[in-house]
Symmetry: C2
Subunit: 396 residues, 2 copies
């Protein structure tokens, strides 16, 4: 029987998926589960996006341009200009989700064995894309106590080696909800200039900033045009996770022409989803105002509720729709399993993502969980009640 090599380069399992078998068993027992573990919004997809697909007149569903529809790239560039991101269609490659944009980026700038520095905790699938590409993730620790602010630049500099090709950030952050300030982005700009590194910014939550905070894109910083690569996606912006449309953007021609070879090898991004994504750009501002209002209110409800529970601490999120909470438990993964296997409040329970899986450093964040506030407020309130009761019973 043939053996796989090192089980696919020891591809890590997603921490969000680890608990799925426990959840499935709980559902079989008739348990109702409030899912705080994944970033699947319940917000309606803009009607214009869905209508465009229904109205599309297609006879032959053919390959599109490997970089995506020209018309879509043009309109997308106009959208970015409103966000102080000055790009034109040739600086954009439409990808199959932000996932593929990350794969193209790692493949284009890194040789096998090269290193990318990422502040941890970070979106766990970065591990997966790095493993696929044969790239090594080097974590730099951001702290719960600082609300997951940017680690001091000296900490980054300690980690730079001849193999370091890039710093990768997620802004606003998944799983932290942290939104980097203009000063922090400027600090990153200086270090990448000094060491001739790329700065890759996953900005898929750009539009989700609260309390009037402003998002600063890595693409808006003068002087690092050749270093900056932006990752984007329609998944969260328009609640279109199932479209699988993302984007890679850079003014660096060498990077983009290399990425195009990866894009051409896989032929094209999905056609129906490009139609939907192009139409989504006509979504009126009111849609976003309502969505941000909704998330902002959910965030306040969640954070306030968590802070009221004995022994629970929260790193107050300023963006995206996640937060990291510290729980009065030793092993949050064990607690999360127990919630699904053994606990119920009137036959209901909750599912959370143990945060250790978002850290690259072993034995870190063991008492933390990531909570996504993608549920309606009444459900968030109920989930908080369940968490409170569960912590009481678990400790006892």
């Amino acid at each position: 029987m043939p053996k796989i090599s090192n089980k696919g380069r020891a591809m890590p399992e997603s921490p969000i998926r680890k608990l799925v078998p426990y959840a499935e068993a709980a559902i079989k027992k008739g348990r109702v589960i409030y899912q705080l573990n994944i970033g699947q919004p319940d917000i309606k997809t803009p009607a214009k996006a869905l209508a465009a697909v229904k109205n599309a007149d297609i006879e032959v569903l053919s390959y599109s341009h490997s970089a995506g529809f020209e018309s879509y790239r043009n309109k997308l560039a106009t959208y970015y200009k409103k966000h102080d991101i000055n790009v034109s269609l040739e600086d954009l490659i439409i990808t199959t989700g932000g996932s593929e944009a990350l794969l193209f980026t790692m493949g284009s700038i890194c040789d096998v064995g090269d290193e990318v520095i990422i502040p941890e905790p970070f979106y766990a699938n970065y591990n997966g894309f790095a493993t696929s590409s044969g790239v090594t993730v080097v974590p730099v620790k951001s702290k719960f106590e600082d609300g997951f602010a940017l680690p001091p630049i000296s900490e980054f500099e300690k980690l730079v080696t001849p193999k370091t090709k890039a710093i990768l950030i997620c802004n606003p952050g998944n799983p932290t909800g942290y939104l980097y300030t203009q000063e922090e982005i400027q600090q990153l700009a200086e270090i990448v200039k000094k060491h001739d590194l790329f700065i890759v910014a996953d900005e898929v939550y750009r539009e989700f900033a609260y309390e009037g905070a402003k998002h600063y894109s890595i693409m808006s910083v003068p002087g690092i045009e050749q270093n900056a690569i932006m990752i984007d996606s329609v998944s969260k912006r328009y609640s279109m996770c199932g479209a699988r449309i993302g984007c890679m953007a850079s003014k660096n021609k060498e990077v983009m022409s290399t990425a195009m070879k990866f894009a051409q090898a896989r032929l094209s991004p999905p056609t129906f989803a490009q139609i939907a994504s192009e139409a989504a750009l006509d979504t009126p501002q009111e849609y976003f105002d309502e969505v941000i209002e909704e998330y902002s209110s959910r965030r306040n409800t969640l954070v306030k509720g968590l802070e009221k529970i004995d022994g629970v601490r929260v790193a107050n999120p300023k963006g995206a729709f996640y937060c990291i909470a510290e729980l009065p438990v030793k092993d949050a993964e064990d607690f999360a399993k127990w919630l699904l296997e053994s606990f119920q409040l009137d036959n209901e329970t909750i599912m959370v993502a143990p945060a250790a899986g978002f850290y690259s450093t072993p034995n870190t964040g063991l008492n933390q969980v990531r909570i996504a506030y993608v549920l309606k407020e009444e459900n968030l309130l109920r989930a908080l009640e369940i968490l409170k009761a569960a912590l009481k019973e678990y400790k006892g």
Copy 2:
């Protein structure tokens, strides 16, 4: 300015794309081009597939299961059973095109630096997926004179090293149109059993077999269930290249559970396209009968026409919709460029794919081109006239 490492591991340029700038320049000059260079069929997508997307009732376009809709996998398994491929839903992962199925396969079975043996000439994007994955392609030569039949097993055995993880075939073949016989598939089964290798079969052209020839799937061979991995796609079968839906199939649980980690990292395949692909399975047999009849007739027209041109030889294709032709020129790439830059017959010209790009061995197939018969017969006939006139002028 930051430098990319070895330009993205020396990601090769697709030989099909190399000539695109020349074609664009020709179009600017007002030239009409018959495109024989790419496998984009002009056949209509089944109406049921397109209607299903129009009729889908979606409010939130959410992530699907990372392995694809369960309902689709179930129906697909039933479809495969009709083709003597005995799989069930847990043996299938729905992917974003056959491209992603190949990436998952290489990532799952190979560590960085491992080797995959591929009969050449082969689908050029295999190079791209291998480069992305840090895997080395080892070519074994199949010969024009033999119609690109399977090379002798002894030739494969010469190339097996401790790093060899798999043999990869495309059946029926792109770019050769060759359809492996049951005996050849059996020979492959024996060598992979003997050396404990995987056999990866790209069977995306399965349904396109002519002159009553029967396709033998690697999945139908008893005794190599743990070695066999099938790659599939809806792109050609239903003329749905723009859907970007493929599939990876294997009875080997270790392979599939590793591939699932890659699938989970990229979250899910596109939703709209899965809806279309599931509905496409209801396409009546008459659709295929007509399509095969059409391709068969185009094939006959093309092959007959090519054989009539002085100095042109064809490896008669039995499947897919490509053939390799030898031309009476020294450098088919130069000829292909010249066709676009300098030649015209009543302001029309043709675009062909130089075959050297489908060989991994340098300086091979220099006088060969790949011709795709994806055009209507009247256009194929005109393309043949143009080729004949062009060869006369080019030699002169």
